[in-house]
């Protein structure tokens, strides 16, 4: 049995002149929950479609469970489950009919099908809705049904494209618990999400931006690559404070968060923090306290994107 569930080497894809994937390489181990984290347009969907054999790359190679996607797309399709970003089931078919349809397409034997359907629906707590049309389900239930359809043939590898986008927080949490249970059953999962907080639930993650992998590793390992520090500034006039810092720093570095202004100092500012604060006091903006806080994944992402762009600018 191959060591890695997904192995991607130098994958490239362009849409016309726009590069979508820029020499992407990734190794995802068996039984691992891997998160692909990045904003819209980062290349997550393109990568997942290529892996699912729905799209051909311009260059590079990918193997799923040791099978080459390029050479044996039909074999890959048998062993993976893929859940597209958009809800892609038939709204006029019931929950049960949708499941049965995909079971038939995957050639699940009739006896297994019944048991599998019952198990999956029970697992996703959709059993009471088996006769309801898919179009009349809530957003969270639709996603759970889509997951069940992707799981109907008991795949060993599951590729989920932004499964929690547009789903309410409670359903999101429930969905991640289901994914965790799948992982415990030994299924390898590749999940993409634009939400940084969801990355914490993955064993390992890759930050992706404009078709480039910026960092790879566990969430802690990735955060450890944060180069500067994060500072919280407290004061009575938060908008005033934020405005002041935005004049002195890049605007993406300054954020009002609850009772504080959060400064993402991934590079040393030209003037020191003390001088910045003194300047603010001089301008008549009061500062109560300044605290250093731990960086988060989002801080790291912003820092890595800025670093990449600077490096690119230096070359260009």
């Amino acid at each position: 049995m191959p060591e890695s569930a997904i192995s991607v080497v130098n994958l490239q894809k362009q849409y016309g002149q726009t590069p979508a994937l820029n020499s992407v390489s990734l190794e995802i181990r068996q039984g691992e929950m891997f998160g692909l984290i990045g904003p819209d347009g980062a290349g997550k969907t393109t990568l997942m479609r290529i892996l699912s054999s729905l799209m051909d790359p311009d260059a590079g190679e990918c193997r799923l469970l040791g099978i080459s996607v390029k050479e044996h797309p039909e074999k890959v399709r048998r062993v993976i489950g893929y859940m597209p970003q958009r809800f892609s089931l038939y709204p006029d078919l019931t929950v049960g009919e949708n499941l049965r349809f995909f079971a038939d397409l995957f050639g699940v034997p009739r006896l297994d099908r019944q048991k599998r359907t019952e198990d999956l629906l029970g697992f996703a707590r959709l059993s009471p809705f088996i006769k309801r049309r898919a179009g009349r389900l809530s957003g969270g239930m639709k996603q759970k049904l889509a997951l069940c359809c992707a799981l109907i043939h008991t795949p060993r590898l599951l590729i989920l494209d932004e499964p929690t986008t547009g789903v309410d927080p409670v359903s999101r949490r429930e969905f991640w618990e289901i994914l965790k249970a799948l992982k415990d059953q030994g299924v390898t999962l590749l999940v993409s999400t634009p939400y940084m907080d969801e990355a914490q639930r993955c064993d390992r993650i890759a930050l992706i931006h404009k078709g480039n992998i910026l960092a790879e590793g566990s969430a802690l390992e990735v955060i450890a690559r944060f180069p500067g520090k994060v500072v919280a500034v407290f004061g009575p006039d938060l908008p005033g404070l934020a405005g002041w810092f935005k004049k002195k720093l890049r605007s993406e570095q300054v954020q009002i968060l609850g009772d504080r202004v959060r400064l993402n100092l991934f590079t040393q500012p030209r003037v020191s923090m003390d001088e910045l604060c003194a300047g603010a006091e001089d301008a008549g903006i009061a500062i109560d306290a300044v605290d250093e806080v731990g960086p988060g994944l989002e801080d790291t992402f912003i820092a890595l994107v800025a670093g990449k762009e600077e490096a690119h600018g230096a070359i260009g």
Binding site: L54, R78, F87, L89, L93, E97, F102, D104, G107
Partner: protein, 368 residues
């Protein structure tokens, strides 16, 4: 082994059809509506033409003629007047489509020679009916004048035209089979192209494509349910044309229904082919209509005779499936043809269908 995936695809498609009764209703009502519009509005028969008569002769001979005109089902004598100067006014007010003027010396002229001084004026703004009015009147008077002049003895030559297969010149008998051909190809292409485009639009195609499905399975799984539906519509409108418009059925229903299946299959193949090049339902709809409606109306021989088309258009008409189906349906219903006469036409039509479906399967990609 026969594919196990076509059946579930078909089952799913039938559920879609069943769960959308509104579309189904439209699919059956639209043909009815078109049949009524075409069957009645495009009526090429000239019956009850409003006729004016100006009798200046006032003789038994003219009165005799007028009685004959009145008795004819083609004419309604609506105005009788004495002043020929009123003629133009009658036309301008559109009270009459034609007038017949009997000159003062009508009777005498009739006795002297076969050349009768008789004036017929028809409304030329509608050239088609004007010609027909003229022909009808000429025919009528020719018969009359011959009877009078030869007075008892057999006329030397008498030409009598007889319309084979449609002796009464009922245009419904030509039009209704044409509409059947038109509707079936339109609905067939529309149904399949739109249903595949819908799956592309909704993203469900993406979900189907990650299963181990094969192109021919998708294509057949889509085509067969709509073949059944299209056949249902075909039977419905043909029976309607037969019963309501009294289009005769001189051949065998079984042959007609069988060839109908071949024709619908060809229509579906066109729809499938269209679906491989479009991404949205709207474009699919537009393209299907353009690809089927125009050629089927203009180039199939439905409206214009193929023989009178310029040569390049005649070549195009040879790849329009409706051309063949028109020959088939008119042949069976009006002439009582069977396989013996029609097999070359059926073979040509099947060939076109097989060609289209082969291209569709070849073009259908299992990628996004």
């Amino acid at each position: 082994m026969i594919s196990t995936r076509i059946l579930p695809l078909m089952r799913k498609e039938f559920i879609h059809i069943r769960r959308d009764p509104r579309s189904l209703l439209i699919l059956f009502l639209m043909p009815l509506l078109m049949m009524f519009i075409f069957g009645y509005a495009i009526n090429m028969d000239l019956k009850h033409i409003r006729l004016g008569i100006c009798d200046l002769s006032r003789t038994p001979a003219s009165r005799d003629m007028i009685e004959a005109l009145k008795a004819s089902p083609y004419f309604d004598v609506v105005v009788r007047y004495d002043n020929p100067g009123r003629t133009e006014k009658l036309f301008k007010k559109r009270l009459v489509r034609a007038v017949v003027i009997f000159d003062t010396d009508f009777e005498r002229a009739l006795e002297r020679s076969a050349v009768t001084p008789l004036g017929v004026i028809a409304d030329g703004t509608d050239a088609n009916s004007a010609t027909l009015v003229q022909n009808y009147l000429e025919g009528l008077f020719m018969g009359r004048s011959l009877e009078i002049s030869s007075a008892g003895q057999e006329p030397p030559i008498r030409i009598k035209a007889r319309m084979l297969y449609n002796p009464d010149m009922e245009s419904a008998h030509f039009i209704v089979p044409g509409i059947v051909a038109l509707l079936l190809i339109m609905i067939g292409a529309l149904l399949t192209s739109v249903t595949i485009a819908r799956e592309k639009e909704a993203g469900t195609m993406e979900q189907i494509l990650v299963t181990p499905i094969r192109p021919y399975e998708v294509v057949l799984g889509k085509a067969i349910p709509y073949l059944v539906l299209g056949f249902g519509i075909a039977v419905f409108i043909m029976i309607f044309g037969h019963v309501w418009f009294e289009v005769p059925m001189r051949g065998a229903w079984s042959w007609l229904l069988l060839f109908c299946v071949v024709y619908i299959f060809t229509a579906l193949a066109i729809g499938l082919l269209i679906s491989t090049v479009v991404a949205t339902q709207q474009v699919a709809m537009m393209l299907s209509l353009v690809a089927t409606l125009l050629p089927s109306v203009m180039l199939s021989g439905f409206v214009f005779p193929i023989a009178s088309m310029p040569q390049p258009l005649q070549w195009i008409s040879k790849v329009v499936p409706a051309t063949y189906f028109l020959i088939i349906i008119r042949g069976i219903m009006l002439k009582g043809n069977g396989l013996a006469e029609l097999w070359p036409v059926v073979a040509a039509m099947s060939g076109i269908g097989v060609f289209f479906i082969a291209v569709a399967v070849k073009r259908f990609k299992l990628k996004l």
